[in-house]
């Protein structure tokens, strides 16, 4: 199974993924295609996906803010309406009580029948009243109409009696009292003709108030209830406590207006809390109206929409990522294949150039050998002439001298062929210690005669303390030969060629090859290392010499720079490491061995 997976991966993985051609590395424009691929995917991904993500998040934020505002507004509106209803409920009954006490007077109110009549009428008019009683200034209940027998009870020690005495009007919390049923009392203070006060008190059923509140409870996620100023529940809530229990929410700060805020409840649920302190125009009340809405429930529609948007954005991102990966892979692979093809061509060209160099060299050597051969020929011919024509062959000094000439000429031929063989052998890739003076001399041997004929002065300056460098001798020789060839071609007769070797750093040397030849126009300088760029006539130059020279120098971990002024001359400066071995180790380490 794993093997099958591997074979499928091998079939589809891009060619650049396993770059295996160390011998071509020097010709590649880029060295790490995996890195280019990764940077491409990351860059394109960031450019395409980040704006999408940012816009989506901004969109979410805007919608969230707008939904929150809408929810707060709606909660506030519900709380405001419910507050008006509760206020009206209490105000209406307080006013009715005030009207009764002012209109009827103490004497008639203490008449039990009359009081029962008034209770009946009030029940008919407003509803929700349980009983009605009159309490004298002593706190003794002097008259009572209602279902309980509470006449004669003394309320003088109770808080509500003191409060009503103080503020003339009173609305109680919901409490159980003597009858052990939740109820509210409202009371109104008035005065008798003798100046003493009395209080008309009514008991209200809580049922009517709860019904009034329930009308404003909209939806399953809404909760509406009353609490007092200390947080004791006055009506039942769905989530925040039963009647007379401590509310599980904090008591909101006082505000004369209806408020709505976003907060979290004890369970950590996000809620919108609308509240209003209830007070009537004639008296304060102990109630706070609470409207609580669970945010999660109210946001369900928006959350469904957001889920759809998330799916869409996620799907889009996956599609974009796939397209980017495919595009990057395709483009980098194309780039890699083009670069590889160029590298292979360059390698072939270098090979071709090496062969051409050897051919050129052989021709040069043949030319050089012809002169001593001609001498051998003439000398041998003369010896033969002596035998044939002059018949002088015994102990003849001239004869010996001529034979020496033959031997000397043969020795010259031998020297040249040795150099030729030595030169050919140096094409092998081999790192060795190289004496720069010797290499330069070897190269100049092939131009010695030409320099002599054309009256070109060649000056070589290698400092005496210049160390031997570790490099590939053959390649260095080819580099120098190519550059010296170029210089000779650029120079007119009588010009001067300088080869200066110097130390250009703690671990590198420079070889400057300068001539005072024709130089190059500036526009050509940037192209001279391009393959097939030549200024020579068609058929005279391949345009590969400098390209190959450049790649050979790269192969030796060096660099090549050129400066030229048209009409004044050209300087090529080669920088080479003193030890190529160290560079190879450093290069291999940088690629993880």
């Amino acid at each position: 199974m794993i093997d099958r997976f591997r074979s499928v991966f091998r079939a589809i993985h891009p060619k650049f993924y396993r770059q295996k051609h160390k011998h071509l590395d020097h010709y590649f424009t880029f060295t790490n295609y995996r890195k280019i691929w990764a940077i491409g995917i990351f860059g394109l991904g960031a450019a395409a996906l980040l704006p999408l993500l940012v816009i989506t998040m901004i969109h979410y934020q805007l919608i969230q803010t707008s939904v929150d505002s809408e929810l707060i507004l709606r909660t506030e509106r519900v709380a405001s309406n419910a507050r008006r209803a509760v206020t009206f409920f209490l105000e209406e009954r307080l006013n009715a009580l005030s009207f009764t006490v002012n209109e009827i007077g103490y004497e008639q109110l203490t008449n039990s029948d009359h009081l029962a009549e008034i209770l009946r009428n009030l029940k008919l008019g407003f509803g929700g009243l349980t009983d009605l009683s009159v309490i004298a200034h002593t706190g003794i209940q002097v008259a009572y109409a209602g279902p309980f027998k509470l006449e004669g009870k003394n309320y003088s020690g109770q808080i509500w009696f003191a409060e009503c005495q103080k503020h003339n009007l009173y609305v109680s919390e919901i409490f159980r009292g003597y009858r052990d049923l939740p109820h509210i009392i409202i009371a109104v203070k008035s005065f008798r003709p003798d100046g003493t006060f009395f209080i008309l008190r009514a008991t209200l059923e809580t049922q009517r108030l709860i019904q009034t509140l329930s009308a404003y409870q909209t939806g399953e996620h809404a909760d509406i209830f009353l609490t007092n100023h200390t947080g004791i529940m006055q009506t039942v809530s769905k989530h925040y406590g039963g009647i007379f229990e401590k509310m599980t929410l904090p008591v909101p700060n006082f505000s004369s207006r209806t408020q709505a805020v976003m907060t979290t409840d004890a369970q950590g649920h996000s809620i919108i809390m609308g509240y209003a302190y209830i007070y009537t125009q004639v008296a304060d009340t102990p109630f706070i109206l609470m409207v609580i809405k669970q945010k999660a429930g109210m946001m369900r529609v928006w959350q469904e929409l957001r889920s759809n948007i998330n799916w869409f954005v996620g799907f889009s991102m996956v599609v974009i990522a796939i397209v980017i990966i495919i595009t990057c892979t395709f483009m980098v692979n194309k780039l890699y294949l083009a670069d590889k093809s160029k590298a292979e061509t360059m390698a072939l060209m270098e090979q071709a150039n090496q062969l051409a160099s050897i051919g050129q060299l052989a021709a040069g050597v043949a030319h050089e050998i012809n002169n001593p051969l001609a001498l051998i020929n003439e000398t041998a011919g003369y010896v033969r002439d002596l035998f044939v024509i002059k018949e002088q062959y015994q102990k003849d000094e001239e004869l010996l001298e001529n034979i020496d000439s033959i031997l000397e000429a043969v020795e010259r031929c031998g020297r040249i062929t040795r150099q030729l063989l030595g030169f050919a052998r140096k094409f092998d890739v081999k790192i060795q210690k190289v004496n720069l003076s010797e290499v330069i001399s070897d190269v100049l041997i092939f131009h010695g005669k030409e320099a002599e004929y054309r009256n070109i002065k060649v000056h070589v300056d290698v400092p005496e303390n210049m160390p031997e460098i570790e490099t590939d001798r053959g390649k260095l020789q080819q580099i120098l030969l190519n550059l010296v060839n170029n210089a000779f071609q650029a120079m007119a007769d009588g010009c001067r060629l300088n080869i200066d070797v110097a130390s250009s750093g703690p671990d590198q040397i420079s070889i400057a090859i300068s001539d005072n030849g024709c130089g190059m126009p500036e526009e050509n300088l940037s192209k001279i290392f391009d393959p097939f760029f030549t200024t020579k006539e068609r058929g005279q130059g391949t345009g590969l010499g400098l390209t190959i020279t450049y790649s050979l120098i790269k192969k030796l971990y060096g660099s090549l720079t050129v400066e030229s002024k048209e009409g004044l001359g050209t300087v090529f400066i080669i920088n080479l490491p003193i030890s190529i071995q160290e560079k190879i180790i450093a290069h291999e380490n940088s690629f993880g061995g």
Binding site: N371, L373, L375, E378, Y382, D385, S405
Partner: protein
């Protein structure tokens, strides 16, 4: 037949001159273009045998100067590289040339042809 031989390879020039002399040909030999011009000013030569590549005045330039000095002197070039003559002169004047090394008989044949 009087011949002027010019070649910077001194031993070669001496040897060739001796061999031609053994065959009864009157040869003067010099090693540079300047010496050749000096000789030509004082002597009349039927043929000048010139090496193409020489330091100073080369064979091609020497031919031009000799032609001005002594138009009747015929020229035969010697070269180490056969194709140079065509390449560098590109004219019919340079039709007579020999590539080193050569057979003396061939040279004599050319000399006779030139003089005739």
């Amino acid at each position: 037949m009087k011949i002027l031989l010019v070649d910077d390879e001194k031993k070669f020039a001496m040897m060739l001159a001796k061999r031609l002399a053994l065959r009864g040909i009157d040869v003067d030999y010099v090693f540079t273009g300047e010496q050749a011009l000096a000789k030509a000013e004082n002597n009349k030569y039927d043929v000048a045998i010139l090496d193409v590549k020489m330091p100073g005045i080369g064979g091609i330039e020497l031919k031009r100067k000799l032609s001005r000095l002594s138009p009747e002197t015929k020229i035969v070039f010697l070269t180490g590289h056969g194709s140079e003559i065509d390449f560098e002169t590109g004219s019919a004047e340079a039709a007579y040339y020999l590539t080193k090394p050569f057979q003396l008989e061939k040279l004599i044949e050319i000399l006779n042809e030139v003089v005739e």
